[in-house]
């Protein structure tokens, strides 16, 4: 069973990402989180076999990178797959993302239906 988490501190961004995923044909449940701490709390209790995180990087207090480190620390990287959805156009962020094996996608906002289709399909 796969659980999908949509994480962004900007509610409009969450709304647009949800819209894109649904428009791409995703029928499953999407859980929304507006801060990193809630995500960590959720991951601590997660029971699903596979988890897809649509993750923003730049968030207050706990950033997207902090969540990535937490996943490694808790050895959840086997069951977690992350697609970064960020407004950042920094190359450094892209390079950094490439160093995490469980980050499988990098989407620069604004998000489009076509951007998320490959991940929905997989």
């Amino acid at each position: 069973m796969t659980t999908t988490l949509n994480i962004d501190d900007d509610p409009i961004a969450l709304f647009l990402a949800n819209n894109a995923i649904r428009s791409a044909g995703f029928q499953g449940e999407i859980m929304e989180f507006e801060n990193g701490q809630d995500v960590i709390n959720y991951l601590d209790k997660i029971t699903a076999d596979q988890v897809l995180l649509l993750l923003d990087i730049n968030m207050p207090n706990i950033s997207g990178w902090d969540i990535c480190e937490y996943i490694i620390e808790k050895k959840l990287d086997e069951k977690v797959q992350i697609v970064i959805i960020t407004s950042s156009i920094s190359k450094l962020d892209k390079i950094k993302a490439a160093n995490y094996p469980f980050i499988t996608g990098y989407i620069t906002k604004p998000i489009h239906m076509e951007d998320v289709k490959p991940f929905i399909a997989s």
């Binding site: 900007d10 409009i12 961004a13 647009l16 819209n19 894109a20 730049n58 156009i89 906002k109």
Partner: protein, 555 residues
Amino acid sequence: MKRIHKIPLTFFIVGSIWILLSDNLEPLLLNISPFQVQYFQKVKGIFFILISTGILFFLIKSYESKILEEEILYRSSRKHIHEGYILYETDKSQVFEYNPTAAKILGINIGSEKTEMGLQHLIQLKKINQTIINEIEYQILLYGKYKFQNIEFIDHKGNVKLINLTGEKIRSLNKSNLIELIFEDVTELISKDKLSKFALELYSIESKINSEHDFIQKGLDLTEGMAESNLAFLLSINESDNSFEVLELSTKAKSIVNFSEKNKVFQIASNGGLDNCLKTQKPFINNNLKSNKLVKNELHSYFPFTKSIAIPIIENNKVVAIVEIANKDVDYGALDAMQIQAFVAVFWTMLKKKHSDLQLNYQRKLLQEAESIAKLGSWEYNHLNETLYWSEEIYKIFEIDEFVEPNEEVFNSRILDEDKVKVKQAFFGMVENQKQYFLIHPLQMPDGKIKFVEERGKTEYSADGKPIKTIGTCLDITNKQLLINQLESQNKQLSEIAQIQSHEYRAPVARILGLIESFDSIKDKISEEAMREVIYKSAQEIDNIIKKINEKTNN
């Protein structure tokens, strides 16, 4: 009875015998009555003998008293002369009379038993060489009077003294083979204040020399300024084989002696001047210059001088040079420059010292300037006695008075409190691990100003691995560090701006773009008013971000 008193007695006895015997002889020779002859001759003869003996005795007495008077006068005058005075009986090898100065010069207690004191006794005490005593007696026997110069004599304290000794055979009523010995201690006599004006000028040569050029020029001035017949060399000595190298020559010297570039090095027979000057640190006069020949490299010019004076130039209680003048028969105590017939200036160790000093001073000055320009000081820490040396520049960097002796406490006074332990551990840790020392740390000056220094050091270790000393540098990198700090600050600002641009600025832009691009699919899910509100707030957000970037750029 004195020997001289035997003369009238002999005359009286011989005369009386003649008169007594003449009673039998004269009648045979003269044809007269024996009675007449006997009577007449006896009266005449006795009268004659008495008169003659009386006259003779009177003459001898007068002569004797005159000699005695002379001797008394002579001996009493000798007792108070400043030279040492000894009357010495050569046949008995004992001292007959002496004055206190003799005892003082010879440095021994002559004592009340005069017979124990003699030149033989001196020989036994090894005070004077046996060959010198033999020579003295021989010369006096031959010539009646002889003068010996600069005899080395060791006094009771073991000090080497130089003594001039004059020996003369004298006449005495009571003593035969009596010679007078006059000792003059010239060790002190040939002192600075006894020298002539010219010699004093040589003495003061050191104070007039400021550079190597001055040094050579001074030597040449001294020689060129003299009489036409003068001869002058400026020499240095090779201490290993005592050979001399001609450094400069006066014009006259060049014309007299066949010097060439090939013949620059030669050896000169030692006349004792160098050794004695070094030993006594006092001028040394040699009155018996003999066959000093310049014998090396086919140079055989005869050195035709009989006397020399060697003058040590003393600096910090050490003989740093010896100026030696060779001359014909002159009194150096009254020597005038114009009297000099020959002049040999031996500027000895001083030249080499001057060279090395000048070179060292020049290098030190260069190093100081280089250190000052580079703001680089040098230091040395001795691990054995825990002492620290700082170059001048370190004092400047640390802003510490140059008279303060460097030590760990002084060094620590400039280290920030929070860095003290770190700096100490860094130094001793690298020493212990046998690594080169490298550390950048701030210093705090008394006025609160902060400086940054870059310390480097290399440690020498003993065979068993114990640190002996660490030699290092301290570079003032305050300006460089401030520049680095400024660049780092600017870099940080740029990073922040880039961060703002890539994240904060892009976020509202992406939001607006997302709303517009997804309009068809979301128009039923969000009201137009809500969309307008989102776009308006996003635009405001962009405006704020632009202001924030502008503010950072202006800073």
